[in-house]
Amino acid sequence: MNSRTTEILVGFFMLIFFAAMLFLAMRVSNLTSLGSSTGYALVAHFDNVGGLKSGAPVSASGVRVGQVESIVYDPDQFSAEVMMSVGEDFVGAFPEDTTASIYTAGLLGEQYIGLEAGAEDIMLGDGDEVTLTQSALVLERLIGQVLFSRSGAE
């Protein structure tokens, strides 16, 4: 085997490897949206985040506008603190009385945050807190409430 042919084939092998890595990084695991940290941050406190995970989408009217950056327990407010990053295209798109709710996509789908714009004139900026929040729907609690209200009616 000619050493030049060997080198060309090894180079080709490396190229396939880089293509595979690029595919794994961009298409399989969503590395592209991690890089776009140019957006602004919003904070929200939820009583219960349910199965929300960091990296979950943040959407408004069903359109994806950002993603959840981190979820930690805030011992001062006894609730979960969710950091979101919203794309820079949406600076000044959400009024102060925007509501953040945790929804589930489909019956068994992943959970995401839905933002519903309010009517105030003052807009949310970088690092501001979304004060109006609605927790995730926890099935056990829902069943408990139904049972409780039925036994109360009798």
Binding site: V10, F13, L24, V28, S29, G55, E110
Partner: protein, 257 residues
């Protein structure tokens, strides 16, 4: 009776001695690594022998494994009405487990056995003694390039295996079974993390690469220099490296995930 006990003890002592010899062999090969820098063409040659020559079998089996995963996953997920999670199931299985493990097994069968046979034959035809006679250290000239090439080639092959497998899953899941293409990709992207899943899968493959090529080279260098000896060493390479890949996979999974 005493004779039997003695034989039993001899068996374990021999096994232990061989294991120790393998460790020393690895240490000396790793010690010879810096000498690879001026001998770069040797590494290219070995990357060709262990990487490029294994490429076709990896790509074909990756495609079929991905296709089977999609088929089986679809049947299972359909029962819950969760076909949309197919992309996630296929990608996570491939990237975390099947990519590194199946690549390791195929690499042991394709490249590892070839390495053992080559080195064993070099020993049987006294080429290794010839090298030593010319004051060429076989660790620098023969073993270190092969070890390093295997260490590099296996993770690269594993990444290709996973990538092709995901495409195979797409082919069957989306094109044949009719899962929504958007759901396939978006579910995959939201559940597969680059550092936690892809990179840790590649770390597994790095470990497998080192272990498989270590076993292959040691078995070759340690074989009885006859035709039966070489064939027995080749068999041992495939058996030991397959077992180590599967065993190490469990240990690494328990540590990392």
């Amino acid at each position: 009776m005493i004779d039997r006990v003695a034989r039993f003890g001899r068996f374990w002592l021999d096994a232990l001695e061989r294991f120790g010899r393998a460790q020393l062999f690895l240490a000396r090969s790793l010690g010879a690594m810096p000498s690879l820098i001026p001998r770069f063409p040797l590494l290219i040659q070995q990357l060709y022998a262990s990487g490029v020559m294994t490429l076709s079998i990896i790509l074909v089996s990756g495609l079929f494994v991905g296709m089977v995963l999609a088929l089986q996953g679809y049947n299972l997920l359909q029962g819950f009405g969760a076909e949309a999670a197919l992309g996630q199931a296929v990608a996570l299985t491939l990237v975390r487990e099947l990519g590194p493990v199946v690549t390791g097994l195929l690499f042991a069968g394709r490249a590892g056995s070839a390495m053992t046979a080559e080195i064993g034959l070099m020993k049987a035809t006294e080429q290794l003694s010839g090298l030593e006679m010319m004051a060429v250290d076989p660790f620098k000239r023969v073993y270190a390039p092969r070890l390093f090439a295997g260490f590099l080639a296996l993770p690269m092959l594993a990444a290709m295996f996973s990538a092709v497998g995901v495409l195979g899953g797409y082919l069957v899941g989306v094109e044949v079974l009719g899962v929504d293409a958007g759901a396939y990709w978006s579910n995959m992207q939201s559940s597969v993390a680059f550092v936690e899943d892809v990179c840790q899968g590649l770390i597994k493959a790095l470990v497998f690469g080192l272990v498989v090529s270590w076993i292959a080279i040691f078995e070759g260098a340690d074989c009885i220099p006859t035709s039966e000896g070489v064939s027995a060493a080749t068999t041992r390479t495939v058996v030991y490296s397959s077992l180590s890949v599967l065993g190490l996979d469990f240990v690494l999974t328990a540590i990392m995930f």
